[in-house]
C-alpha cells in the first residue's frame, strides 16, 4: 500500500451484527482499514465491526472481499457499488 496511491471506492460492507463474535479478523485483514471495532454490543455481548469509510484518509472499500472470506461467522456481506 503506497502512501500516495488513491483507492477507488468500490463497495460498502454490511455487517450482520447478531452473527458476529468479535474475532477481528475482518478488521485486521482489511487492506484499506475500512472496518473498525464498534462501541455497540450485540445480544451475545460482542462488539461487531463497523464500516468506517474515510475518503480523506484513503480508507475506502476496494471490494477485495477478504473480510467476507475470513469471517468465520458468515457475518459480513460486501455490497459493491453499481
Amino acid at each position: 500500500m503506497t502512501e500516495n496511491k488513491k483507492f477507488k471506492r468500490r463497495a460498502t460492507v454490511r455487517v450482520l451484527e447478531e452473527r458476529c463474535k468479535g474475532c477481528w479478523y475482518c478488521v485486521n485483514y482489511c487492506p484499506t482499514k475500512v472496518l473498525v471495532v464498534s462501541e455497540k454490543l450485540n445480544s451475545k455481548g460482542y462488539h461487531p465491526p463497523e464500516f468506517a469509510e474515510n475518503i480523506e484518509e484513503n480508507k475506502v472499500c476496494i471490494a477485495c472481499h477478504l473480510c467476507e472470506l475470513y469471517c468465520p461467522d458468515f457475518a459480513i456481506v460486501v455490497e459493491e457499488l453499481k
Partner: protein, 282 residues
C-alpha cells in the same frame, strides 16, 4: 451484480441461517473452512439436492448442522463409513465428509485407512485444530509433540499423524493441506477436488484459540492466524519429513498429490454387478 456478491447471496441459501450464530467459539477456524467449502460448491454449480454432507462428533462435527443440504451428524468416528453407505447405495450423489482430526484419525482412523484403500468416491475435509475442542482441549492424534493440553500438562509425549503422507501412502488420488489463513488457496483446492473422483483428502490446519492456543502461547484468534501466516511454506513436492508438523514450527502446505483416473470402489462394483448378472446360468 458481481460474481463475488452473487456467491455471497447464494451462500446464504446453503446455510441453515435460522441456526446462526453457530456454536463455534470466537475466532474458531471451522467457520472459515465451511465458508470456503460452500463457495467452492457454488462455483462448481453443483445441485444442492444431490450433495450430502456427513460429519462425525466434535466441534467440526457440528458443521453438518449448518449446511442446508442433506446432512448427517453421526456417531464419533463413523462419518466415513456412514458416507460410504450413502455413496455406495447412490453413486450419483456427491458425498462430502466434513469432520475433525480426532474424529477422523483417532477413533475413526481405521475407517479412514480402509476407505482410502478402497478408494471410495468421497471428499474428506479434515479440519485439524491440534486438539479435542468440544471436550475441553485434551491432546489428540494430531497434537504436536511437546504441546500443552489439558491431558498433557507437562507437554505432549505423543507423535502426531502426518496426515497428507498417510493419505498418499494409501493411494488417495487428491491430497492437499492448507491453513485457514490460505482462504483463496483453500477454496481453489476444494473447488478442484470437488471436480475430481475417488478418495480426496484436504487437511486444513485450523485455529482453536479457546482451548489450544491459550495453552500454547497463542492467546488470541489473531495470534494463531499470525502463526499460520508466518510459518507456512507452500511446497507441492514436499517430502515426508517436510510434511511432518512440529510444535509451533513450520507448516508445509500445498497440493501434494493430484492424480486422475484411478477407478473408484463404486465404479469397480458396477463391473461386479455386470459380471454377476452375465456370468453362468441361473
Amino acid at each position: 451484480m458481481s460474481i463475488m456478491e452473487d456467491l455471497r447471496r447464494e451462500e446464504e441459501k446453503l446455510l441453515r441461517t435460522e441456526r446462526l450464530p453457530h456454536v463455534w467459539c470466537p475466532g474458531c477456524g471451522i467457520g472459515i473452512v465451511l465458508n470456503a467449502f460452500l463457495r467452492s460448491v457454488l462455483r462448481r454449480n453443483m445441485d444442492p439436492n444431490k450433495l450430502v454432507v456427513v460429519s462425525g462428533i466434535g466441534c467440526t462435527g457440528r458443521a453438518a448442522g449448518y449446511v442446508n443440504v442433506d446432512s448427517f451428524h453421526t456417531t464419533h468416528g463413523r462419518a466415513i463409513p456412514f458416507a460410504v453407505g450413502i455413496k455406495f447405495a447412490r453413486p450419483d450423489l456427491n458425498v462430502v465428509v466434513f469432520s475433525g482430526d480426532g474424529d477422523l484419525f483417532a477413533i475413526g482412523g481405521n475407517h479412514f485407512i480402509n476407505a482410502a484403500r478402497r478408494n471410495h468416491d468421497l471428499l474428506i475435509i479434515a479440519v485439524n485444530n491440534f486438539t479435542y475442542g468440544m471436550t475441553g482441549g485434551q491432546h489428540g492424534p494430531t497434537t504436536p509433540t511437546g504441546a500443552y493440553t489439558t491431558t498433557t500438562p507437562y507437554g505432549n509425549p505423543d507423535r502426531p499423524f502426518n496426515i497428507p503422507h498417510l493419505a498418499i501412502s494409501l493411494g488417495a488420488p487428491y491430497v492437499a493441506r492448507w491453513t485457514t489463513y490460505h482462504v483463496n488457496q483453500l477454496q481453489n483446492s476444494i473447488h478442484k477436488a470437488l471436480g475430481m473422483k475417488g478418495f480426496r483428502v484436504i487437511e486444513i490446519i485450523s485455529q482453536c484459540p479457546t482451548v489450544y492456543g491459550r495453552r500454547n502461547y497463542m492467546r488470541s484468534p489473531l495470534s494463531m492466524m499470525e502463526y499460520f501466516q508466518k510459518n507456512s511454506i507452500v511446497k507441492n513436492d514436499a517430502t515426508f519429513e517436510e510434511m511432518e508438523l512440529t510444535y509451533n514450527g513450520k507448516i508445509v502446505v500445498g497440493e501434494f498429490r493430484s492424480v486422475e483416473d484411478i477407478p473408484t470402489y463404486e465404479e469397480r462394483y458396477e463391473d461386479i454387478i455386470r459380471r454377476a448378472q452375465n456370468e453362468g446360468g441361473d
